[in-house]
Symmetry: C2
């Protein structure tokens, strides 16, 4: 057989069953559209690049390479860089042993590892309604049965949780300024959920990428702080430093931590050691205590700009929205009869983009919902963009 | 229920079935022992840190942060950084469209993505005998039936391959200076395997982290170059630049690439954009053409030192070993009746460590084999270490 014959020969690739569940992220497809020049995007979940401490990274890179460049560029332990694990443990508001901290390649990877360790094909897992799309995507390859639990602005519907918990492997919750809704679970909501989960013998998987981005007052204590043995906790440096280094972490009880570590070894051996040392260096001397308040102030201004624009531009339209106390997102609901997915092309024609809320539902979506990020566009762009959105809604009515 | 009650309540964590297959890496456990001061380690797969171009990284970090620090620290495309994908395509010795190149968090992640996309529970997959342990660990969570194909120093036993291929999802091969054996598949071996795979309708998964580390002459063309539609190809910057940035890549045919991309999105969103830009910067102006020859020269000297030490110290002992033409590893076989796993503690007592070969077999191991890395220890340490190993073998006889 000649080379040419071989080259024309496509063999019998057989895809895994789970590959059928893998689909391009709706959001990423939308983001491609929004990269067109002139589009004002409320779609992305991108932190404002103004908040990235470029100079601090600059100095940290230089120091890490100067002090121990060879060590920083070598293979490293799957668990993560020791000093960074200690810094993470010290940042958390309950008693965490650094040995429980596993450094991950963004907190998205923690979701992948948790899925591998806790989900069998057909396993029931519970999520909020709506929930973080990236979590649904990370869980999907392990072929779970994903069940949405009802909730409102304050917390979870405990009766619904009780009905759906039997046999569930875990309940995935994002209590602080949730992606996509921006909502924050109240103290009463947390206390009730923690008690119910313990009574139901239901493990919690708590995701907290946005908790530090509060505007008026810090959120109540994490669910994990209330029952560390019954919870896995995930955090990230993506929103308080920068996402481009891909640094997150997961804190798991002793029953789970060794399996997550083994899954981590198999997934990418370890998170880049250079990045871990750079972030560890940046974190020294209380950097976050000085830096994060500047992000809060900026995002609060941006949220206020969007709320003002919504008040002004949506007057007379039957559009509803919430007032997030932190984070990056605001959640809105369109007038009866207007589907967000149908509105999107009309809005893009007028130069503004958003993410239809349907993407964030595990089961039946509320097709009138949409997610608006208030952190990427400037206040002036927010004014223009919200006016364009209102015009598109009027057209759709 | 009080907080204290909750804290003492460990819920019913149920592990996924695949978690039972996850075990601590034998090698990583051994490496912990070898971190004891004074131990000469032939165990690790660590590139020599002398080869890391720290100054080039230094300059590249500075340039990337100065030219577009905010872009480098922002979320980025799951596919990878465009210019780096083009550079990878240009490095490969067949016609590769940059759109087929997916940047991964080390090539270990490519194994994880391939497993997710191509392996169902119970799927038959074929590997060499022996094979890379990290691949076995990456495939294991998807619960395949892993079958070892016989082979020798020149290539694969095609009769055995023919018998085992029916129904197999793919054959995983590492043709260049394989981990663990250091062996290189000959041109005849490659031609025969490429033809057989095409006739058998058997997809190949080709892993090539060591191909650039040849000592006398470059290896024959990759298997993938002979049938790109029938192969997935993996490469890495870990051995030609440095592993601590975790940068690898996978090139897949159009039938598979979109699914790998979707698995990548779910796994960690994207490989750190900062690292990708830094490596892209380092690669400019033919850096590898100047740098890689220095690694080859160093590793060749190290291999020669180990071969000389083996000749001298193993005289009169019935120990066999090969003479690798590149890479980082040498494969040895102990006298009859001596198991490498039993020898290890005796060797460690005498101050030297290696990896027992049994870890690298998918099925029945040859327990007399062991892997010796010749790149981490200095020539003087190699002399001392091989003498200590010979003494341990004499004691074990």
């Amino acid at each position: 057989m000649k080379l040419n014959d071989l080259q024309s020969k496509a063999p019998a690739w057989t895809l895994a069953r789970r590959a059928e569940r893998m689909n391009p992220s709706v959001i990423r497809e939308i983001l491609k559209v929004t990269e067109r020049p002139g589009i004002i995007s409320f779609a992305g979940g991108l932190p404002s690049p103004k908040t990235f401490p470029v100079q601090a990274f600059h100095e940290a890179c230089e120091k890490v390479l100067r002090d121990d460049g060879h060590g920083a560029l070598q293979y490293a332990a799957s668990e993560g860089y020791g000093p960074l694990r200690e810094q993470v443990a010290a940042l958390l508001p309950w008693n965490v042993d650094p040995a429980q901290v596993l450094i991950t390649t963004g907190s998205q990877q923690a979701l992948d590892l948790i899925a591998k360790v806790l989900i069998d094909a057909g396993s029931r897992i519970l999520v909020e309604t709506p929930t973080y799309l990236g979590a649904l995507q990370a869980f999907a390859p392990m072929e779970p049965e994903v069940v949405g639990v009802k909730g409102d602005a304050h917390g979870v519907d405990l009766a619904d949780l009780g009905a759906k918990a039997p046999g569930a492997r875990f309940f995935y919750v994002l209590p602080n300024f949730q992606n996509p809704t921006g909502r924050m679970m109240s103290e009463a909501g947390r206390a009730g959920l923690a008690t119910a989960a313990a009574q139901l013998n239901l493990p919690l998987v708590e995701d907290n990428p946005y908790g530090d981005l509060w505007f008026d007052a810090p959120p109540p204590a994490p669910l994990t702080a209330r029952n560390p043995e019954g919870s896995i906790y995930m955090g990230s440096f993506s929103k308080v430093l920068a996402p481009g280094l891909r640094l997150g972490y997961v804190v798991a009880p002793a029953a789970i931590a060794p399996k997550l570590l083994q899954a981590k070894q198999a997934a990418d051996l370890h998170t880049p050691g250079f990045n871990q040392r750079v972030v560890s260096e940046v974190l020294k001397d209380g950097f976050l205590d000085r830096h994060v308040p500047t992000i809060r102030a900026l995002y609060r201004e941006q949220r206020d700009a969007m709320l003002r624009a919504l008040d002004r531009e949506m007057a007379g339209l039957d559009v509803q929205w919430n007032k997030p106390d932190g984070g990056m997102f605001l959640w809105a609901r369109l007038p009866e009869g207007v589907r967000a997915l149908d509105l999107l092309p009309k809005a893009v024609d007028r130069g503004v983009a958003f993410v239809p809320g349907a993407a964030f539902y595990a089961e039946v979506p509320d097709e009138r919902t949409l997610r608006l990020s208030f952190v990427t566009a400037t206040p002036e762009q927010i004014d223009t963009g919200i006016a364009a959105l209102a015009a598109a809604i009027r057209e759709a009515l």
